[in-house]
Symmetry: C3
Subunit: 189 residues, 3 copies
């Protein structure tokens, strides 16, 4: 049985960059991981099952059906035998508040060994978001980003209690990507 | 099926004022909510069942019986079909430590869509408590109020993982009640 | 049925000293507690069952077997009828991240009445660790100690939601051991 690692981080923290750099390091050592984006995987499964045609339909699904889709996607991913990285949200910030990315029914199916939180100072995240031309939606203040990261830590504590997984905080600070990638590789190795 | 929203906040944060103002805004739009105080509801059920005659007896009940009362009250509230606001504590500060207001057996019966934490800066809460002539019990310091609010956030993260509900933080800052009420109405709308 | 109190604290916080002083106060009042170290108890059970011969073998056990050992140890402790103190970790800091000391399967068997977090300022803990000649492993910075204590608070919130136990924070500040012991005795009394 391989390792199952969930990787999360608020938008703009540079999660994907850290994952790619970290996997490069490991690949050079002969360690391989399959990388799965939870949202994409769930969407593709829903399309195959004829439940939706696009992402918009996905969002408009009834809560009970969404829950079932999440559970099924998690169960399918959980059957994977090799090393996998599951790229997902610790929480999603919605107009109605924070939504846990790994509610209990997802968590119990995924049964991860480790959850990694990629973090950095809230002002660095703010500046990265300001410099991202593809980002058009409402901006969070630095204080709100801090609140979001803190809430993610609290969520990850609940994840750890339910599954027994470890929770690792990997800092992706400005100018220190190499270090973040090395820290991530050390957890995945 | 209506919306089920749990509203919490430490003593002195002005939770009831925000609820009333928020519901006024919604009523003008034709949106109605039934407001239920969890503690009162539970007490009245216990009186009807002949288990207690007053609040003091309630507190002295055996832990197992209290748990059953909580569960039954939550189940009865959970059967409600319309929009409901459940006014309760995220945690109660007791001499033995913080007690979760929504332990698992309550949470699973209530199954809320959203939990709202009404918060403000700890020094504002301290001043509001100092200016409340009805408050006679031991005073918490600003640091202790901060600790309480932070613990409530951590609790709400666990609530979110178990139920899949969203967690919304609504700030009720000095001189900004209108904004707090508007924020609350936006979640309940 | 006696009281079941779990006591935790990061290394260097002085947990054992506070426990001993607190139990002294209670003993003078005729209140007695049996003190159980969770790790030691689990290890001794594993030796008796012929599963391991030393602590190193313990650490190398398969995750599933470790989980079963934890569960069995918790169940055996949970059967205890008298007042017990369970001395354990809120979380263990491992190279793969924080590991919950009381994952769900342990928690449900122990079913504690109260979890006590012994804490103090991170710089005080840092200095205590620096002055401990038996401590040879990598040092955490003050920021890392802060992070660890905060994560323990979040974990304890999840513990509280699952079991309904109270969570009490007892400060063990420099020069104020007497106060810490008195605070602990007040919870155990």
């Amino acid at each position: 049985m391989g390792k199952r690692v969930v990787i999360t981080g608020v938008p703009g923290v540079g999660k994907t960059t850290v994952i790619n750099k970290g996997l490069e390091i490991l690949l050079a050592e002969g360690v391989t991981y399959e990388s799965i984006n939870f949202g994409t995987f769930m969407f593709e499964t829903a399309v195959q099952d004829g439940l939706v045609r696009d992402r918009d339909e996905m969002r408009r699904l009834d809560r009970t059906i969404q829950k079932r889709l999440q559970k099924n996607a998690a169960a399918a991913i959980g059957k994977n035998e090799g090393n996998i990285i599951i790229d997902t949200h610790c929480s999603v910030k919605t107009p109605k508040g924070y939504l846990a990315g790994l509610p209990e029914w997802v968590l119990r199916e995924l049964n991860p060994d480790t959850i990694i939180l990629v973090e950095t100072d809230e002002d660095q995240i703010l500046m990265r978001r300001l410099n991202d031309p593809t980002r058009v939606r409402d901006m969070d203040s630095a204080k709100e980003i801090l609140e979001h990261q803190q809430f993610n830590r609290s969520l990850s504590a609940a994840y750890a209690v339910i599954t027994g997984c470890t929770v690792k905080i990997v800092k992706n600070q400005d100018y220190l990507l190499e270090r973040a990638a090395a820290d991530m590789a050390a957890v995945l190795r």
